[in-house]
């Protein structure tokens, strides 16, 4: 195939599909109880220098109890696929991110991320490689398919392509230029779901974002769940299993695990809390104070929930419309 142009971005996580197959062959296929705490899951499975990714989207079904634990355990030099709002901001604020495949880091309604600028200026965040949102998920899809790349029609003709590590080739069938994006295999994927059983079979309500693709592109997958349900319940509705157990390495029971983000049909996002973050993250001092209050000075997710308070959490449930 004739390569017409190559992006200048570094390929941060070169795809080794055959090694991925070998890895998956060795993964435990037995029905094993994988329940553990955030602390244990993070200690066991996330290491300095790992390439990690979170799903879904910032304030929605975001795996905050796991992210907070990564910060608490101070796991540095992370390489991160960045498609985030609040959760990626927290990792950046704690100075843990060294390299990023990047598509969106911001606070949506509340504008740009303040911490990313500081991380770039300080040199801690040393490499940023650009992608579009679709391109990144197609990279997961390629990994999920077990192929080293996938052709896409995004990024063509733009600087987003130029600063990516995509390649432009002549399509062998039509002769038209098309972009190839490399499979992205995560060392560790992190997903928060509505329900899981002890083995890791997962159900998600509402939109599924890119849970399907990311879960299948991860060598190790940590799942946190609002509720742990019996396997009989999973077997009663097998069509609802979006992430089957064999993909999963750790199952963490994390009620309100997305706070201050939302969990559709269960609780709304904590708007004042997110506004508060948008405000305090403007200065390093206030950022540090926030991290101390909500992460460093507390023991675990249960203590975090106690700090937020039952009344507040109840309110976030109550404002869900048509809550049956």
């Amino acid at each position: 195939m004739n390569i017409l142009e190559e992006g200048i971005g570094e390929l941060l996580q070169p795809p080794d599909i055959d090694a991925f197959r070998e890895w998956n062959r060795k993964k435990n296929k037995s029905l094993t109880d994988k329940r553990m705490t955030e602390a244990e899951a993070v200690r066991r499975y996330i290491h300095s220098g790992d390439y990690i990714g979170t799903e879904l989207y910032g304030s929605v079904r975001c795996p905050m109890s796991i992210v907070n634990e990564i910060v608490r355990q101070d796991i540095k030099n992370l390489r991160v696929v960045g498609q985030g709002v609040y959760e990626t901001d927290i990792l950046l604020a704690a100075g843990l991110v060294k390299e990023m495949d990047f598509t969106y880091i911001g606070l949506e309604l509340y504008g740009i991320s303040h911490v990313i600028r500081r991380e770039i200026d300080s040199g801690r965040l040393g490499k940023i490689v650009e992608w579009s949102n679709g391109s990144l998920v197609w990279r997961f899809k390629a990994a999920a398919m077990g192929v080293p790349f996938i052709p896409v029609r995004s990024m063509l003709g733009t600087d987003t392509f130029k600063y990516s590590s995509a390649k432009l080739v002549e399509c062998p069938y039509t002769g038209v230029p098309i972009a190839l994006v490399p499979a992205l295999i995560l060392d560790v994927g992190i997903i928060h779901v509505h329900r899981a059983d002890q083995y890791g079979n997962c159900q998600i309500d509402g939109i599924s974002g890119f849970a399907y693709e990311l879960s299948r592109a991860s060598k190790t997958l940590i799942v946190s769940a609002e509720e742990i349900i019996p396997t009989a319940e999973i077997r009663r509705h097998p069509d609802r299993t979006i992430i089957p157990y064999y993909l999963v390495d750790a199952v963490v029971h994390a009620p309100y695990g997305s706070h201050p983000g939302e969990m559709c049909y269960l609780y709304e996002r904590d708007e004042p809390h997110i506004q508060h973050w948008a405000e305090v993250s403007k200065t390093p001092e206030a950022t540090q104070e926030y991290l101390d209050t909500y992460i460093y000075d507390i023991e675990d997710h249960q203590e975090y929930l106690a700090l937020i308070g039952e009344e507040r959490l109840k309110y976030l449930q109550d404002i869900v419309p048509d809550r049956g």
Partner: protein, 255 residues
Amino acid sequence: MIEINYNPNEMLICTASRLMSDNSTAFIGTGIPMLAASLAQKMHAPNLMTIFEFGGMGAILDDLPVAVGGRRSFHKALSALGILDVIEMAGRGFIEYGFLGGAQIDPYGNLNSTVIGDFYKPKVRLPGSGGGNDVGSHCWQTIAIMRHDKRRFIEKLDFMTTPGYLSGPGAREAAGLPPGTGPFRVVTNLALLGYHPESKRMMLLATQPGVSVEQVLENTGFELLLADEIIENPQPSAQELRILREEVDKEKFYI
């Protein structure tokens, strides 16, 4: 004539809303496009098929979504799947309109939402492409919504995040983008703009009420083409304003 008080933001939302036709498919981004889509559904386009990046299709926007993946983005929707379902929907030619924003736009409708200044030593690091590049690549017609000033309407972008007509006529097709796609309109607080059918350069179509053509030109950092006849957009109607204030943004997130 009754004097109607409104702010430029409200005018912008109404102008964008009027471009959203009933029974069409529209990819809706964060912010103004959400307000415009909600207003359109309550005014003239009850079956405007809203499409949100993380998988919601056909939502009824009773409450304003504050996040493109939030619960409100698939409220009473027809489907709630995943990000690839909707981006690939655009990839197969099902999505007519894509609404976009950016920090900078050039005469060919290319957009920057990545960085101001040098990529490696940015003055401002912006949020990045997100789904912007995908929307600008795959939707048939894109509509940019921008604040209008010389720093934003510039001859050369600091970074081209999302493709407009790239370097001009034929450039999208040469780059491999789907034929027949590209920028359609730009809606600003000062004007409604389109593109010259041959040169693909931006062209002034209409001014917002009370804004002169000179004001538009003064606030544009490149040579703007003028349509043969430049009209003045109608003011927001009392009904549009009432719905916008009392129903669309009742929580006062934006206006």
